[in-house]
């Protein structure tokens, strides 16, 4: 049976809507800087994972260059904001520059190599991503090298900016939350990421989306019934690159810092892969679930384990096992369990449940 009518699919949709609502009200629900940091990171990664899912889950293209496009967007904004000063003109120039580089590189990589076998394509993207990483650390005049670039965001996003003032001239509060530039910046991130995610969602439900699935299922037959496979694959590769580049720009504006670790490193690529697998390939909603779970684990698992370790004080061995330094071990175990119990990812596996209702 088709998957959108199962109880499991409804459950996943409800979960994703709940997560969306939590992200929408995050500044009011979780009133501290770290939580807002986490919420913004989740928004960004939802876009990165959703656009990556267009490639790996819907079309069957394995690329390791997704962070490269993310980096182009981030560095575009960073360099423009650094050189031109904090203004919307700089953001615009940075966005367009990042997009231009991403589109040109994506078309070049796509046309040159999407004809070859999947494994060679994956290797070529890996090589391109490595080159981008080396360039970012070598061209230190432009990129700040390993140290990266620190810059100022547009005026309206500064923490000191008052969006509204009360009668005493102080920043106004709504439900105890300061209506300052930080709030504006968060909603800038949230709204742009929501728009990009909805675009990805619309794409997979469109006629083009079904062609992509056909290519994943049976490339030769898709070509034989009249779809130019190379053109479609290159097109979706470019679309994914555009989404990643825009996500990079948004993240750069939010962080006010761009360096290899935040925008280009292979750690980010691995995070994206983990999120896609945890959420479920070819599900789109899985992007929201995967990104939320992994980002929260990365930020809070250590704290949780610290607390567990304290609580188990006096027991043999256990406090050591739960020591915060072991958090990566536990993350690994959780990942293995997830893959074991949810072979199609959380969204994929649960969506297939309740089909006989």
């Amino acid at each position: 049976m088709t998957q959108d009518t199962t109880k499991g699919a409804l459950f996943i949709k409800a979960t994703v809507l709940t997560l969306g609502a939590l992200l929408l009200f995050a500044p009011f629900l979780f009133q501290d800087t770290r939580s807002l940091e986490v919420a913004a990171r989740i928004c960004i990664f939802v876009v990165l994972v959703a656009s990556y899912d267009l490639l790996i889950g819907y079309t069957g293209i394995v690329s390791f260059a997704h962070t490269m496009f993310f980096g182009f967007g981030a560095y575009g904004a960073a360099i423009a904001l650094k050189k031109m000063g904090p203004g919307w003109d700089a953001v615009l120039v940075g966005t367009l520059a990042g997009l231009a580089v991403s589109i040109v590189v994506a078309i070049a990589v796509g046309l040159l190599s999407l004809r070859v076998k999947a494994i060679f394509f994956a290797m070529i993207t890996l090589a391109a991503a490595s080159v981008a990483l080396v360039l970012a650390s070598q061209l230190s005049d432009l990129t700040g090298g390993e140290d990266g670039i620190t810059y100022k965001a547009p005026q309206i996003f500064k923490t000191a900016t008052k969006l509204m003032v009360d009668e005493n001239g102080k920043v106004a509060r709504l439900f105890g939350v300061k209506l300052n530039g930080k709030l504006a910046a968060y909603y800038f991130v949230f709204a742009s990421c929501l728009a990009l995610f909805v675009l990805c969602l619309r794409m997979v439900g469109s006629p083009l989306g079904t062609v992509l699935k056909a290519i994943r299922e049976n490339e030769a037959r898709a070509e034989a019934i009249g779809y130019r496979v190379v053109a479609y694959r290159t097109f979706v590769f470019v679309i994914a690159a555009i989404a990643a580049s825009l996500a990079g720009t948004i993240y750069a504006v939010w962080l006010k810092y761009t360096g290899p670790d935040t925008a280009l490193s292979f750690t980010i690529m691995i995070d994206i892969l983990l999120m896609v697998v945890i959420g479920g390939m070819g599900t789109m909603y899985g992007a929201v679930i995967g990104a939320t779970l992994l980002v929260i684990a990365q930020y809070y698992l250590r704290d949780l384990m610290g607390a567990a370790s304290e609580a188990l004080h006096g027991w043999p061995l256990l406090p050591e096992l739960f020591a915060p330094d072991r958090w990566l071990l536990w993350l690994g175990i959780i990942f293995i369990l997830l893959v074991y119990f949810f072979p199609k990812g959380i969204a994929g596996t649960i969506s297939a449940m309740g089909a006989r209702s």
Binding site: R202, S206, P207, V211, I225, G226
Partner: protein, 255 residues
């Protein structure tokens, strides 16, 4: 007879030193069902691949309605009306039966690049796809995944997919292979119906002599990549050369 719809001129392909299809010149006419026979390894499927574009010819030309299509990609040939079904079942396994057919209808309609509208808003595509499902008696299985169909129904879906492309040239490669006897008549009936439309050209690779006798207007025989015989069924079946090939007394290896 009117102008031939499909012509191959000196069509040849070599794989290293091996010549799989050797200088085959043949013209096919609208309203005619041609069965291509020959022993295993005779080059029948390779000849099909050269016509529908999965393989590029080493020499010679393929003409569709007078236009040279020898260098075109398979998708471009599909848009020019060449429809190809495959010997091994070759569907989109995880997609539903309806989606399989809708993809073929959509390819013809040119909506494949539409990005932002939902597929369900293209109701005419779905309606047309359902029409082909009814014609092939698959309508009650529209929402099953193609991979979950019994083998016989998968073969029918293969035929439905080809019909949904609405080609001028239908190419079937052993459409009844691996089918149980009670399913075979369904598929043959479908192919027989195509013949009734006198604007269509049908090419059929088939081993079963009962099928050949029932459907063929014309038979061509390939052997070791060469065109050995060409003519009306009775004449070709009676000829000494064909008997030699099928009885294996020609002395050559039929690799």
């Amino acid at each position: 007879m009117s102008q031939p719809s499909l012509v191959t001129e000196g069509l040849t392909i070599r794989f290293g030193g091996h010549v799989a299809v050797n200088n085959v010149s043949c013209a096919f006419n609208p309203g005619e069902l041609t069965v291509i026979v020959g022993p295993n390894g005779a080059g029948k499927t390779t000849y099909f691949n050269l016509i529908s574009g999965q393989l590029a010819a080493s020499e010679g030309r393929v003409l569709k309605g007078g236009e040279d299509i020898t260098r075109l990609a398979p998708s471009a040939r599909a848009h020019r009306g060449i429809g190809r079904a495959f010997q091994l079942t070759n569907l989109f396994p995880a997609l539903s039966v309806l989606e399989n057919i809708r993809l073929a209808v959509q390819a013809r309609s040119g909506h494949g690049w539409r990005v932002l509208k939902n597929v369900t808003s293209f109701a005419s595509l779905t309606e047309e796809a359902k029409h082909y499902l009814e014609a092939t008696k698959l309508a009650d299985k529209a929402h099953m995944a193609a991979a979950a169909l019994p083998h016989g129904d998968q073969r029918k879906l293969e035929v439905a997919l080809l019909m949904a492309m609405e080609p001028d040239i239908y190419m079937f490669d052993e459409p009844t292979a691996g089918m149980s006897l009670d399913h075979t008549p369904d598929v043959l009936e479908l192919i027989g119906k195509l013949k009734e439309d006198k604007t269509k050209t049908v090419l059929l690779v088939e081993h079963k002599m009962s099928v050949v006798r029932a459907l063929a207007d014309r038979i061509i025989v390939l052997h070791n990549g060469e065109l050995l015989a060409d003519g009306p069924p009775d004449e070709v079946m009676q000829s000494q050369i064909v008997r030699d090939v099928y009885l294996g007394s020609s002395g050559e290896d039929a690799a």
